[in-house]
């Protein structure tokens, strides 16, 4: 029973981290525009995040060192500072996007304009970080996030031609009217959404918050290997729903409401209610994670006390960074900037910055002076080396593709 509860850490980071506003937008958009032709990217992304999150969690449990502390130590003060600048900025965009996501879900439920919700959402996010126990927070948002299973239920009730979906996914072709650069731009967006670095910042720091040790490695692996693929399946269900309902009508997704429409068409009012709870939980959970991550990255670079396992007064600078980030994130979306665009930029830029974070994790996971006998095995290293190559290619290709495709338009 206790183990079962502990797995909610994985489910939170999977649902709130894997499926967040970025995944909702990226999967809905690519399903509507490319049907299942980008499904393989989700699979590649899920394997990647499993691989590196497991490493980051294992390093944290064994050596008690969180990811950004390792980044500083292995890349040195200067390069790590550049990494901190990039990671903090991308994480900040993601935080702003998640706050907007929560507000958009509330707008769809209440028809009160999302901008009016933003101050309230930002305050609620901060209050949860300030007052609610880490484990309570995980359980509540982890379990509520499971409402997103409605995507899978809706797909099943719609009864698509499964064979056609599978064959479309297995034999990806770029639809007419879409160019290859746009196709790869969306591939990068999906990949960035699946592998966003804040997931490992949060997961590794969370492992230390939860006081994990070597004994918890089994739970740690179960979290990763169950949680993230579950998140990936939900992403694919959303992509499939959009591919069978939106794509044939030529609807491209530019708002969150369009991403919810297929579920509503199939499941009606009840489906909408469950879906909105799910989106609320996933985006709120991710807002918490990115809010925490803002504090984690800065505090870990500078060696400040961080975390909820001490009284806020004991970690004042960590809490100050979190507070200021949430306020600034709220201000960014209050400028009426399109929250969907903020989301898109956050995941695409995340894709460009991936090697900066994942490379030091791979290095330390191989270093016996930290890991003792728990260093990476050969299979993990072989896979991770391939992924390092992929990450480098993605990183180099991102900005040129962004300019070439006018950000996928």
């Amino acid at each position: 029973m206790k183990k079962l509860i502990e797995i909610t850490l994985g489910i939170l980071t999977a649902i709130g981290g894997f499926v967040d506003i970025g995944d909702l937008v990226a999967n809905a958009e690519s399903g509507a525009r490319f049907k299942m032709a980008l499904a393989w990217v989700v699979v590649v992304g899920v394997i990647g995040i499993c691989l590196f999150a497991e490493m980051a969690g294992r390093v944290a449990a064994v050596s008690q060192r969180p990811v950004f502390s390792l980044v500083r130590e292995r890349l040195g003060a200067k390069v790590a500072l550049a990494n901190l600048g990039a990671s903090f900025f991308i994480n900040f965009l993601t935080l702003a996007a998640e706050i907007a996501g929560v507000a958009l879900a509330l707008e769809l439920a209440s028809s009160v304009n999302y901008l009016l919700w933003i101050p309230l959402v930002a305050f609620a996010v901060w209050l949860v970080i300030w007052r609610v126990r880490f484990s309570t927070m995980e359980k509540v948002f982890g379990l509520l996030g499971l409402c997103l299973l409605v995507f899978a239920v809706a797909l099943w009730r719609f009864g698509p031609d499964w064979g056609a979906l599978l064959s479309n996914a297995a034999h990806p072709t770029v639809p007419s009217g879409e160019g290859h650069p746009t196709y790869f731009y969306f591939a990068i967006a999906l990949f960035g959404a699946a592998m966003t670095p804040y997931e490992v910042f949060f997961f590794s720091s969370g492992a230390i918050e939860e006081k994990w040790t070597k004994k918890d490695l089994v739970v740690e692996r179960m979290n990763v290997y169950i949680g993230f693929p579950l998140g990936g399946l939900l992403s694919l269900a959303l992509m499939a729903l959009c591919s069978v309902i939106l794509a044939p009508r030529g609807i491209t997704v530019s708002t969150l409401s369009q991403a919810t429409l297929p579920t509503v068409v199939v499941m009606g009012k009840l489906g909408l209610a469950v879906l909105l709870v799910g989106i609320f939980a996933a985006t709120f959970g991710a807002a918490l994670e990115t809010g925490f991550s803002a504090g984690y990255t800065v505090a870990q670079y500078l060696g400040w006390q961080w975390g909820k396992f001490v009284r806020p007064k004991e970690a004042p600078r960590f809490h100050l960074v979190v507070l200021v980030s949430i306020i600034m994130g709220a201000f960014l979306v209050l400028t009426t900037i399109d929250p969907i665009k903020v989301t898109e930029y956050s995941i695409v830029l995340a894709a460009a910055a991936l090697p900066l974070t994942y490379f030091p994790i791979l290095v330390v996971a191989n270093d016996p002076s930290y890991m003792g006998e728990h260093v990476n095995g050969r299979v993990t290293n072989a896979l991770a080396s391939i992924y390092l190559g992929i990450l480098l290619i993605v990183s180099v290709a991102t900005i040129p593709l962004m300019i070439l495709t006018k950000a996928g338009s």
Binding site: R74, L75, G76, L362, V363, V364, N366, D367, P368, S369, V375, N376, R378, N381, A382, A384, S385, L388
Partner: protein, 120 residues
């Protein structure tokens, strides 16, 4: 003198030929006894090499086995590294270290094991 004064400084041999930059500073625990720490670390020597990327990743550790792609890459990058015993150091100047021997008298640094011993 600070560690950062040594790191990245360029090292010149007795003939004024550049040996490379300081990648790391090897310490040995044989210094004076200070407080409860006991014998402190003194400088054993400098690890000097061309290029600088990856010197601090730990691939030069004997016990670090993988991933083989990275291990092979950094072994290659660091093949030209040299160890400069501290006795050879003649002067530490601004971003510049002068040594009293010729570059060809220097050997490759020995890898350390997990207990801080040099491999034979």
């Amino acid at each position: 003198m600070r560690l950062s004064d040594l790191l990245h400084s360029e090292v010149y041999d007795q003939d004024g030929v550049s040996v490379g930059h300081v990648h790391d500073v090897r310490l040995v625990r044989d210094g004076p006894v200070i407080g409860s720490f006991g014998a402190t670390f003194s400088i054993d020597g400098l690890i000097v090499g061309k290029g600088s990327f990856g010197s601090r990743l730990g691939f030069d550790r004997a016990a670090m086995k993988g991933p083989w792609v990275l291990k092979a890459l950094f072994n290659r990058l660091h093949a030209s590294s040299r160890f400069v015993p501290w006795d050879f150091v003649a002067a530490v100047e601004e971003r510049k270290i002068l040594i009293s021997r010729a570059a060809k008298e220097l050997h490759e640094p020995k890898a350390l094991d997990l207990n801080g011993r040099e491999e034979a």
